[in-house]
């Protein structure tokens, strides 16, 4: 009996340890568990990423990222002659469900910034090729040529698009992929730096445990006034914010001092990017900074560094910018989710319309 139970414990714990050590397996598990809506599904993003960090019950609302947003773009001209490429983060790739939201765009291809993915670019000389680069405000200080070029591979011949997708099919193919991953990344798998995150995901990130997590979050917040260290609230606002965007000591914060020299350096970096991609054959290259929610919702909380407008209105800047900050600043309705670090459907629609105005100005290529 003792041997039986020890064997069960050993097999279970070993499976958990091995699967959590391998990013390959964890990704496959995550892909299914994020989709699953029963008690064994993941609760990390279903109710917003901020809720998934702090589990405050009041912030439990369905995240609008996962829902199909109703896009009502301004009337677009009918011919679709643009091939749109994008290096973007979740502000775009989580929301854009269809290429048709973009005016004049025939083909849309993207790569998720910061992921271990590559976008194969085969520029079609018969179309207008547009590149949209995106950064969230909290990361714009770290924009560099290397960051925005390492995920792009230029092809001479047409190849199928592999961006943002990692294909696995069939039992044998899966086994081959798994074994090659294990061998190629033996060291990383044995001593995976993300193992604690993976273990937490595999052992405790289930809807099943949400009531207990909410109880703990509510208890700690009510008694000690504390949230998860990555999340913060500002008195008078219902929103949950990323702490790093609010804490003035953090370089990602809207309230961290940014010098003019630094702004000059960022704009120089953006112009270098612009020139690089133009030299690679893109007809148009543009950049978009998604403002931190706190910069729009509570800019007066402390002294706002105004980094977005300072970059966008920089006199020497060549890179065309998609200015959403001023649009958000003037609208009266909420553009961000309460429980998520991303915009809501309204915010996304405003952005699409603004971006479409930019696309509409692009002339068709004369051959």
């Amino acid at each position: 009996m003792k041997t039986f139970w020890l064997s069960v414990i050993f097999i279970f714990s070993s499976l958990v340890f091995i699967s959590s050590s391998s990013d390959f397996i964890t990704k496959i598990i995550a892909r299914y568990r994020y989709k699953t809506e029963n008690i064994l599904g993941s609760s990390k993003y279903r109710y917003g990423d901020m809720y998934g960090l702090c589990y405050l019950p009041y912030a439990k609302q369905a995240s609008q990222r996962k829902e199909k947003t109703v896009i009502m773009p301004n009337i677009c001209p009918t011919p679709r002659f643009i091939n749109l490429y994008s290096i973007c983060d979740s502000y775009l790739w989580e929301y854009v469900k269809s290429d048709s939201v973009f005016c004049g765009v025939k083909k849309y291809q993207f790569v998720r910034y910061g992921f271990n993915e590559t976008m194969d670019v085969d520029l079609d000389s018969t179309r207008t090729n547009v590149l949209l680069l995106e950064s969230v405000e909290r990361n714009v200080r770290f924009v560099s040529l290397e960051n925005y070029t390492s995920q792009v591979r230029f092809l001479n011949t047409s190849k199928p698009n592999t961006s943002g997708k990692q294909e696995t099919s069939g039992g044998f193919a899966f086994l081959l992929n798994f074994l090659s991953d294990q061998i190629n990344n033996l060291h990383d798998n044995l001593f995976n730096e993300k193992i604690n995150q993976n273990l937490e995901f595999n052992l405790f990130d289930y809807y099943l445990f949400n009531p207990v997590k909410e109880l703990k979050a509510q208890l700690i917040y009510s008694l000690f006034g504390r949230l998860n260290k990555d999340v913060t609230m500002i008195k008078g606002y219902p929103n949950l914010f990323f702490n790093e965007t609010v804490d003035p000591a953090s370089q990602n914060s809207s309230f961290n001092c940014v010098t003019d020299d630094e702004i000059n350096s960022i704009t120089t970096g953006l112009d270098t990017l612009y020139k690089y991609y133009r030299s690679k054959g893109f007809d148009e290259v543009c950049f978009f900074i998604a403002p931190n929610p706190v910069s729009i919702i509570a800019p007066d909380y402390l002294i706002y560094n105004d980094i977005v407008r300072r970059i966008e209105h920089h006199p020497q800047l060549i890179m065309p910018m998609i200015d959403i900050y001023d649009v958000f600043d003037t609208v009266k309705c909420p553009v961000y989710q309460v429980n998520d670090s991303h915009w809501n459907a309204n915010g996304f629609n405003l952005w699409v319309n603004t971006f479409n105005e930019y696309l509409k100005k692009i002339p068709e290529k004369k051959l």
Partner: protein, 485 residues
């Protein structure tokens, strides 16, 4: 792989279950492989340096055992020097070179000496002391050299104690790897309870107090006397709960495998003198220093000094002062290559020397006041005085430099009733922290071990501790304080 991580918990469950599934002869290799994996999880590269040191020490052990007379002594010294050389290269070189550079710059133009950019292998100062202990015990014929290099490597690398001790003696630990341990449910219960309580001390108490301490020591200038006082008292309990929490987890984990490690603590804040404190705090280190530094030095000095009075003080007192000072300065240096650690050690030496020098007048004073007639009040007073002295010394230990420590003391001196509290925790959490400290004191005073007679009551107690850890623990993967040493 810190003890409070999920990685360690799952790793431990795997090792524990496989340990009892495997036949007896396969168990020490399992422990060795697990320990190597545990060690490499901190940093892959460290294992090469440590492996080299293990091989060298293993052979030195054999050579020392075979040799006799002067040759044995020379081999012992050579073996110890190699250990010290490792310490010098990895830990102390940069400290020494910087200080020599600073000294030279007083006389010549400043030319900094080369700086070594090496990482310090995890647990180096702990297992170096174990290696030295192994060779000295062989040279004293107290033990025979271990014939199996694998078991010797396990003595050094055994995962529950590699990162922060306890510093085990070879005669206590090595034989246990050869004993057949059958699965013992009672031992497992006891081990798991000890581990759970260790997690509680670390996650619920130490890391909660750390929020106040870190905030105060990060910028002492911005803190007032009351805030600094709270932080300083909290640090005394933070470091105790942090280190003894680690030791509880180590001892508990090892106990479930049937291997007993030496306890490092015995209610240290109930000490009635500083000498008593060092018999209860980090016991394996203080006994190591006593056996391998203090006593040999004291014997050596007593052979050289005539039994006379020097400056009207008896020679045996001079010997005590000298041996104590050297031992505690080295104790300070062992904790880290920085002047504030050395000063901290020196302060303890001063306490002990002062205690011996004033023992007669103090006895007279006690007699005069009549406090000895009330032993409970007398003990309580001595305990409080000892706690204050130790807490004062921790200021130098916690600070980043002597200058910062002096600044903390300056802020403490400016304490006032009108001080406004601005702590990183709210009043309820402050009161909760005080409640936890008082609970800990009461538990240590009256119930030293929580016993659960039936399996059901044990399971309920364990579940409650785990629930408390979950609900009130601070989960930020904060490393244990003694890990850095």
């Amino acid at each position: 792989m810190i003890f409070t991580s999920l990685q360690f918990l799952v790793f431990f469950v795997i090792v524990f279950s496989l340990y009892y599934l495997l036949p007896y002869r396969m168990r020490w290799p399992l422990l060795l492989i697990s320990s190597v994996y545990f060690y490499m999880a901190f940093s892959f590269d460290f294992i090469l340096d440590t492996g080299l040191l293990i091989i060298i020490d293993y052979f030195f052990g054999k050579w020392i055992a075979k040799a006799s007379g002067k040759k044995r002594q020379h081999l012992l010294i050579a073996g110890i020097l190699i250990n010290v050389l490792f310490l010098l290269i990895f830990i102390y070189y940069n400290f020494i070179s910087q200080n020599i550079g600073d000294l030279l710059s007083l006389f010549y133009s400043h030319t900094p000496l080369p700086h070594l950019g090496v990482l310090v292998p995890v647990g180096l100062s702990y297992f170096t002391f174990q290696s030295i202990s192994y060779k000295i015990e062989i040279s004293r014929n107290n033990i025979s050299p271990e014939p199996n290099i694998g078991i010797y490597a396990l003595y050094i690398l055994y995962f529950p104690k590699i990162a922060s001790g306890p510093i085990e003696r070879p005669k206590d630990l090595i034989p246990q790897f050869r004993v057949k341990h059958d699965f013992d449910f009672e031992l497992m219960k006891s081990g798991l309870s000890q581990m759970a309580f260790g997690f509680f001390k670390k996650l619920v108490i130490a890391d909660r107090l750390a929020m106040v301490v870190d905030s105060a020591y990060k910028n002492p200038q911005a803190k007032n006397g009351t805030e600094m006082l709270i932080a300083t008292i909290f640090y005394s309990f933070q470091i105790y709960c942090d280190f003894s929490g680690y030791i509880d987890i180590a001892l508990g984990a090892s106990k479930t495998l049937g291997i007993r490690l030496t306890d490092n603590f015995n209610k240290p804040y109930f000490s009635t003198s500083v000498a008593d404190f060092w018999k209860r705090w980090h016991i394996t280190l203080s006994f190591w220093l006593r056996d391998y530094i203090y006593l040999p030095l004291a014997y050596s000095l007593s052979r050289k000094l005539k039994k006379e009075r020097y400056l009207s003080v008896r020679s045996d007192k001079w010997i005590y002062y000298a041996a104590t000072s050297v031992t505690f300065l080295l104790c300070g240096l062992w904790h880290g290559p920085a002047w504030h650690y050395i000063f901290w050690g020196g302060l303890f030496a001063l306490y002990l020397c002062f205690s011996i020098a004033t023992s007669k007048p103090r006895k007279k004073f006690y007699k005069k006041t009549g406090i000895t007639k009330y032993p409970q009040i007398h003990t309580f007073t001595k305990t409080i005085i000892t706690f204050v002295l130790i807490t004062f010394a921790w200021i130098f230990f916690r600070s980043d430099s002597i200058t910062q420590a002096l600044l903390v003391i300056k802020q403490l001196a400016g304490i006032s009733i009108s001080d406004h509290l601005q702590l990183p925790i709210n009043t309820i959490e402050l009161l909760f922290s005080v409640f936890l400290i008082i609970s800990l004191i009461i538990k240590e005073k009256y119930f030293f071990v929580i016993t659960a007679k039936t399996t059901l009551s044990w399971a309920i107690t364990l579940s409650l501790i785990i629930l408390c850890c979950y609900f009130f623990g601070i989960f930020n993967y904060r490393q244990f304080i003694y890990f850095q040493f």
